[in-house]
Homo-oligomer: 222 residues x 2
């Protein structure tokens, strides 16, 4: 078996497991969001801020993937989410089997929204379906405005790009229009939301977007 054939087999196995997850999430009525970015773009901070805004009215759960450490699950648990950490060891992305195992290991459902905080990596997570309703990609202004064209797979596939750390715009070279044009040329339907968890800017828009998507799902049984 050569590399291409082997990769096809891996992807087919993942797609089958992801389809099973999707059925399960339809039944539980949960909105499932795969959260992808580079290391340190602010995935955990965005989810903490989301929990502060929506946690009172919505049951929020999160499965968080890291190569090592339980740090993020601890932060998210402290922010009020039902949190389960997957320590992937060498694996550079979550796959559908890991999500299935996490749902066995901990009672994360029922929940109105389940976040899948992926391993910090703009490349590999783009290829793996996890049964999610949509992917969101984060891009911090400190990473530079050339990243969408350099990592086109994830920016093409993500329904929404959240620009993070816009409070740092005065100190870095980041042309928001240039980044926006790149994202929209890769994905004309993409939503783009500029945020800062430090100033709070854009967080209401992000939560409104989540609740619009949430309202399109069947309500979750109590």
């Amino acid at each position: 078996m050569n590399r291409v054939e082997f990769r096809k087999r891996i992807m087919a196995e993942n797609d089958a497991a992801a389809a099973d997850l999707q059925t399960r999430f339809e039944q539980s009525g949960t909105l499932v969001v795969d959260v992808v970015s580079s290391p340190g773009s602010g995935k955990t901070s965005l989810l903490e801020a989301t929990a502060r805004k929506l946690g009172g009215e919505q049951r929020l759960s999160v499965i968080v993937g890291d190569i090592a450490t339980q740090l993020d699950a601890e932060r998210l648990h402290a922010a009020g989410l039902q949190a389960h950490q997957i320590v992937t060891g060498g694996a550079c992305h979550l796959d559908a089997r890991m999500v299935t195992d996490a749902l066995e290991a901990q009672p994360l459902l029922p929940a109105e929204i389940l976040f899948l905080e992926n391993v910090g990596n703009l490349v590999c997570p783009a290829s793996y379906a996890l049964g999610e309703d949509f992917k969101v990609v984060l891009l911090s202004v400190t990473e530079g405005d050339d990243k969408p064209f350099k990592y086109p797979a994830i920016f093409s596939r993500a329904a929404v790009t959240v620009i993070t750390k816009i409070d740092l715009m005065p100190y870095v070279r980041f042309d928001l229009e240039r980044a926006t044009n790149q994202i929209l040329s890769l994905n004309p339907d993409a939503r783009i939301i500029a945020t800062s968890t430090y100033t709070g800017e854009g967080l209401a828009e992000w939560c409104r977007f989540l609740m619009e998507r949430r309202s399109a799902k069947v309500p979750v049984p109590a």
Copy 2:
């Protein structure tokens, strides 16, 4: 063949190709540096600054890997390096075969220093030998001081960690001592150099480190 066996085969093939590269680099007397970081940590900016400091006295070449675009090779060529872009398509890291092919495609040797600017990814590049003398990992202060323990493989294996964008320290939560302690607990021999390509801080130390390593190699034939 299962995943573990397949991965072993891939790594064995890569190790063999990397050993061939190492022989070749010994013969050419070139110092070879594998440069690894998250997307947007400043690999290209560091190499541009290095070329400004050392380019007058040293022949510098670079092989730069990106998923898509030729942008970085263009920047590095403009900075005076002999630059070859590898567009990896889906591949999330450089491997030894790609480096071998790049050396066939373009006359990058002889050179005193050859940089291998890896794909922006803290995970997968850690596992692949490229015939290099050492790996350097960049960590920008905007990514947060918790990253060494979250991505232990690369911080364990890199001979030197270059902390980048330290001009932004006043605006972000980054505890340099915390990051330093994590790096040294993973790799007690690691060198840690704090830099800013904006203010120039730390660049002389970085170039001194390169030239120390350079001086341990056999001189390159003219």
